[in-house]
Symmetry: C2
Subunit: 326 residues, 2 copies
């Protein structure tokens, strides 16, 4: 089996590649080849015995996508994209990467022809939904994104569904909730604090909390996100039916409940490293985000997220801190 | 006021132009100039005292949209597009005209700059929705088109909303139900019979009915559709809120009720010109169409459709047959 990963150098891309190498196969078939694509060159995966191709560059550039799919990868994980904040501040870049890049990939697949029909797993986002929301966003809620990022993801979902319906490829779009706890350094994303208030205290550092503890949001761990991707690749057209874009399950909880979980697992001293510092801008952005996602269809199709936020904290400690609270 | 109409040579485009000429103004301002664009040259509107520009060509061709908006039309009615059947049989043409054409127009508006922010009224379609449906499709039902045409309309809606949110333009997308009675000759559209069973008998000709009389569908007259367009142009951003794409109201009725209305208005002899000739292909296509559209938001915003199918038959007789049943 030949697997192509776009956005392979990003956090999810690296974790997915590592998991694929560890599993050695996908859908019960051994992985003989991986092609890793991103704007910067991804690292060669450690411990992979098969053939690895590293490709760096702009997916939307003429000929780039054609080159990536020319060798007919069996499964394509399309993770490439610029994040929400960047798509909002740089209109042209957002549309170029998130819309033109996706369309270029789909068109390149169509151009291969000769019965080529890869599985395409696309990471969408709950940003396809926009306020005002019902108490819980159902699977059949309409797409009214309130950001350019959400617009580009929603358009990509629609394209993926049409190309699937026309038998050009077998697509599945998975709408990720906020990934928490993101490893690495703090970033300037408005959602950054959801991870920061867990990650920083566990690393012995102070974390700033810019919103009230009553703010509710839906989360899944990086480990769960990789699980979503692997599971999505296993689903058949028959299982998915015509509605191939799915809201993933997650843990819906308040910031206060996040902090309680941290306290239960790591103690009062760690939890005390969170300092309230209200930020009106962040608070106003977060107020328009989804509180609860109804991932009923995804759960019925076998997608699994954590049951409670404690499990998300534990996944972070196991996967990023070697199982130890420093 | 300067008005640009794309798709001006089509049925709706011609009727809209005629209505604008008759009204002499829009939103209380006199119309001084009209630019009529289509792939073929639209006719110069009779009786218009202002300046008329006729432009023919492909809206998605490089530079074409820039040329159309360079003189900063105040209101743009974007009707241009290939129809459902053609977008399905010709993948490239459908995406080129219905997606690339719309995006080219929006990008050309963005490129004008200098505070230019036109009103853009876009004709979308209930084809943005796809089966399985609830009994009535609510305003917040998700976008899961089952045709490439519906996909292209849904994507255009998303783009229009994002460009509006970013203050590049003031957009409003109106999802038209099936327009009935379409004047002119029978066409090969799967929906053609909905008009044919009224139009042909009134013209003294036999009409074929390919589906059962129990089939239910939502209709609006060409006159109502023009009313939607004019009303849409009058709505402010404040009235619309962030959700600028709206399902239009219409008359939901069965084919049997359509025929009953024809019989009430034109008599048994006319209604007897309908001949049942089942067509499995047409029946299977129509089975996936929306039966009832919940146009609640649109009605609240002042959009008006006919109350019953009798009114749709009467509108056809008045507007196309000089008020007489031949």
């Amino acid at each position: 089996m030949h697997i192509l990963v776009t956005g392979a150098a990003g956090m999810i891309g690296r974790k997915l590649t590592a998991r694929l190498v560890k599993d050695g196969g996908l859908n019960g078939k051994p992985i003989e080849r991986m092609t890793l694509s991103d704007v910067v060159a991804a690292d060669k995966p450690a411990g992979f015995g098969g053939k690895t191709g590293i490709s760096s560059g702009d997916l939307a550039a003429p000929g780039a996508a054609e080159k990536l799919v020319g060798d007919r990868p069996d499964v394509i994980f399309h993770l490439a994209g610029v994040v929400s904040g960047e798509a909002e501040t740089d209109f042209d870049k957002g549309y170029h990467v998130n819309l033109d890049g996706t369309r270029a990939l789909l068109e390149a697949i169509r151009a291969v022809g000769g019965g080529y029909k890869p599985k395409v797993v696309f990471t969408s986002s709950i940003a396809v939904f926009g306020a005002p929301f019902p108490q819980s966003i159902p699977d059949d809620f309409h797409l009214t994104p309130l950001t350019s990022y959400g617009t580009q993801k929603a358009i990509s979902e629609l394209l993926l569904a049409d190309y699937t319906r026309r038998n050009i490829l077998d697509g599945v779009g998975i709408r990720l909730p906020t990934i928490c706890v993101r490893p690495g350094k703090p970033n300037k994303a408005a959602s950054g604090f959801f991870s920061g208030i867990i990650r920083e205290p566990l690393a012995g550092q102070e974390a700033l909390l810019p919103v009230a503890e009553t703010i509710r949001h839906t989360h899944a761990s990086p480990r769960a996100a990789i699980g979503f991707l692997i599971h999505a690749a296993s689903l058949t057209r028959e299982q998915l039916g015509p509605r191939i874009n799915l809201s993933m399950p997650g843990v819906s909880c308040t910031v206060g409940q996040q902090i309680d979980a941290l306290r239960r697992i790591a103690g009062d001293k760690v939890a005390a490293r969170i300092r309230h510092e209200p930020d009106a801008l962040v608070a106003s952005i977060v107020a328009n985000w989804a509180e609860r996602i109804d991932g009923t269809r995804a759960r019925e199709l076998g997608f699994k997220a954590e049951d409670k936020f404690d499990d998300i904290v534990r996944a972070h400690i196991e996967d990023e801190l070697g199982g130890k609270i420093p």
